[in-house]
Point group: C2
Chain length 365, copies 2
C-alpha cells in the first residue's frame, strides 16, 4: 500500500503460509485479517490505487519464474520467509519447513532475477538477529578486521539465536556470493523488532489494520506487553530482562523499505543497512509500557519468568545504524503517545484476547 | 576401508549421484569404478573385513533416519555432497541440484542425530575453499576480532569462490547453530585439494584404485597436470597461475578423518581443522609435475589459458594448520617420488585418456 500510494506499480504475492501455521499453532492474530485479494480490493475502494495480487508458493521455481518473466520488475522486495523464531524451534517438522521455505525462496529469487530480469534490485528482509549479541560494536553489515598486521574487509560475522534467524544468515551468505560472482544488485535490511498499529494507508479503513500477533510464537515483545497490560495480567520478562535489541516503528519500516527501493544497490553491490531507530532492553520496554498503562489505570505488574530461549540476558549491545538516516529516514520513536495509541487500539478489542496464547509454549531444548 | 582396517564397524552409504552427473557431463573417471556393493565384496575377499553397504538418497529424511535409528552410530562421516565447483556453476539446474542436495543432507544429518543418536559425533567434510583468499592469515576455523578496543571470538569469516564452496559455508553456519543451541558434537574438516592414487587398502587390489577424475568438472589441478603430461599436451595454467591452495595426499586425508573420529568433539563443541599439509601456487604445481615428467622423457610444456573462474590470480595465502599435526598426523608430502608414482600409474592407462574432457567447459559468468 505504501509503494502504491507513492506511485509505484505493485504486485503482491502470498501463499498465506503464516496464516496456516498460525492456525495450526493456535496463534491467530488479534483481529481477523482479510485475504490479500480482499485487502487489495478494500485499498482500491478507499484510495483509488490498484495493487495486483498473485496467490501461490514462491518456493516453487516455476511460479516464481513466471511472475518475474511476466512483470520484469525493477525491484523485488523479498519478505517471503517463515518469520517466527519460536516456530522454527518447535520441532523437526517446523525446523524443516522453515529451512526449506526460507532457503528455497531466496534461491528462487536469485535465479529468477539472473535469468529473467538481471538488472532488477533485490531488497531482502534480513534481521538484526543475524548478528546475535557480540561483545564488539555491530557495524552495518561489514567490518574491517586487522589481524597480525594485515587488514581485510569481511561481512560482519553472524551468530544467530534461532533457526529462523540462522536461515537469514544463510540467505545473506548466498546473496553475497551471487552479488560478487554474477553482479546481482542487492540490499539486505537487518531489521529489528517492529511495533505499531498505524500507517497512513492502514488508517484509511479499519479493515486495513496491520496484522497484530500477541502470542508466544508470532507476537514480539512489545505486542506481548501491550496485550498483557490490557488483559490485566503481568508483563512476562524472560529471565533477567537485560536482553537488548534495536526496535523500530511500523511507519519507519515502511520508510526504510521505500528508501532502499528508491536508492538501489548497483550491479555487484550488496548494500546492508541496520534497520532500527533505538535500542531497549526487555526491562526498559516493560517499564515504558507499565508507565503509560498505569497512567490509563491499568495497574500494570511486571513478572520475571524462566527464559524459554537460549540467549545472553545481560550483554553489550551497540549496533551502528546511520545508513538509512543518511538516506533520509525520519524516525518515529517509541514515545508515551505512541504506546498510549497502541494501548487504546487494543483496548477496543480487549474481548478478543486469548490469554492462553501468551505464555511460552516452545523451549530452546 | 581405512576405518574397517583399523577395526571399526563401518556402514557406507551412497546414491551414485556423482557417477550419474559425471556421465551426464561426459566426465567419467579414468578407470571404471565398481559399484560400492562390488567394491565392498572385493575388499572383503582381499582383507577379510566386512563393510555394510546401503544404497539410497540421504537427502530423503526417512532414508537417513532409518539408517541412524538402525545403527545408532558413534560417528557419522558426512561426505554426501555434490563435490564439484564447476558443476555448481554450470547453470540454474546444476546450481539447484547442488544447493538442494548439499543443504538438505546436512540438515538431515543434524536432525537424525538429534532425534535418534544425540551423543554421536558428526564429522563434516568442509573445504579450505570456504575461506576464499583473504588478505589476512587464515586461522583454524575461529578468529578473535579486536574492534574499537573490545574483543569477540567469531567463526573465521568465509567468502567462497563457487556455489559448491558456498554450500559448505552454509553447512558450517548451520552446524555451528545446532552445536551451540542443542549441544551437537561436530568436527568440520576444511580440506584442501587431495591428490594420490595409493592407500594401504586401495593397493590390495587394482579394482580398489581410488576414483580418478582428470576432466574439467570433477578433476582437480594435480590430476589435470598429471594426465596432460602423460597425454603429451601442455599443462593448462588458468590465468597468471598465482592461485595458491593447501594440498594433501590421499593417505593424509584418510589419517585426518580417522584422527578426527578417534578424537571426537565434546557436546556443544565445534572443532574445526584446516586439513592440508603444504601450500603451492598453480605455477609451482606445474613446475613440479614438469620436472618429474621431463625426467621420464615426457617433454612437458606449460601453457597459460584464460581463467574460466572468477578468482584472484595473485594473492596472500597463509592458512594455519597445526591442529591435525598436534593430533598425530604424519604428512606424506608431494615429493618427486610421489609424483613419479602417480605418473607411472596413469601411463599404464594412457589409452583411456579422453583429451576433449580436459579444457574448461564451464565459465563463471
Amino acid at each position: 500500500m505504501d509503494f502504491a500510494n507513492a506511485g509505484h506499480d505493485v504486485c503482491a504475492v502470498d501463499n498465506y503460509f503464516r496464516r496456516i501455521i498460525a492456525e495450526e499453532t493456535d496463534s491467530e492474530a488479534l483481529l481477523p485479517t482479510p485475504t490479500l485479494t480482499e485487502r487489495a480490493r478494500i485499498f482500491e475502494e478507499v484510495s483509488g490505487k490498484k495493487i495486483d495480487v498473485k496467490i501461490g508458493d514462491l518456493a516453487d521455481p516455476d511460479f516464481m519464474n513466471d511472475i518475474v518473466k511476466d512483470y520484469k520488475p525493477d525491484t523485488i522486495v523479498h519478505y517471503a520467509e517463515q518469520p517466527s523464531a519460536p516456530y522454527s524451534m518447535r520441532g523437526a517438522k517446523e525446523a524443516r519447513v522453515t529451512f526449506q521455505n526460507n532457503l528455497n525462496v531466496t534461491f528462487n529469487v536469485i535465479w529468477s532475477i539472473l535469468e529473467h530480469a538481471p538488472d532488477a534490485h533485490i531488497i531482502k528482509l534480513g534481521t538484526m538477529g543475524e548478528y546475535g549479541t557480540p561483545n564488539i560494536d555491530i557495524e552495518e553489515g561489514w567490518i574491517d578486521v586487522t589481524h597480525k598486521g594485515r587488514t581485510q574487509k569481511f561481512l560482519f560475522p553472524r551468530a544467530a539465536g534461532s533457526l529462523y534467524h540462522t536461515t537469514k544468515v544463510l540467505d545473506t551468505d548466498l546473496l553475497w556470493f551471487y552479488v560478487r560472482t554474477y553482479n546481482l544488485r542487492v540490499t539486505d535490511l537487518m531489521q529489528g523488532p517492529v511495533y505499531g498499529l498505524s500507517s497512513d494507508e492502514a488508517d484509511l479503513d479499519p479493515r486495513l489494520t496491520p496484522n497484530f500477533h500477541y502470542d508466544d510464537i508470532f507476537g514480539t515483545l512489545v505486542n506481548r506487553f501491550l496485550v498483557q497490560s490490557v488483559a490485566g495480567i503481568p508483563l512476562t520478562v524472560y529471565g533477567q530482562g537485560g536482553q537488548t535489541r534495536g526496535y523500530l516503528n511500523l511507519r519507519d519500516t515502511l520508510q526504510c523499505v521505500r528508501l532502499a527501493a528508491e536508492n538501489p544497490a548497483g550491479p555487484g553491490e550488496l548494500n546492508i543497512f541496520n534497520q532500527l531507530t533505538e535500542t531497549f532492553s526487555v526491562n526498559e520496554v516493560a517499564a515504558k509500557v507499565k508507565a503509560v498503562g498505569d497512567q490509563k489505570g491499568l495497574n500494570v505488574e511486571i513478572k520475571a519468568i524462566p527464559n524459554p530461549r537460549k540467549e545472553l540476558e545481560d550483554h553489550y549491545y551497540n549496533p551502528q545504524h546511520s545508513g538509512l538516516l543518511d538516506l533520509g529516514l525520519k524516525p518515529n520513536f517509541m514515545t508515551d503517545e505512541v504506546i498510549a495509541d497502541m494501548l487504546d487500539r487494543i483496548i477496543e478489542h480487549k474481548d478478543r484476547i486469548q490469554i492462553d496464547r501468551i505464555m511460552p509454549r516452545v523451549r530452546w531444548s
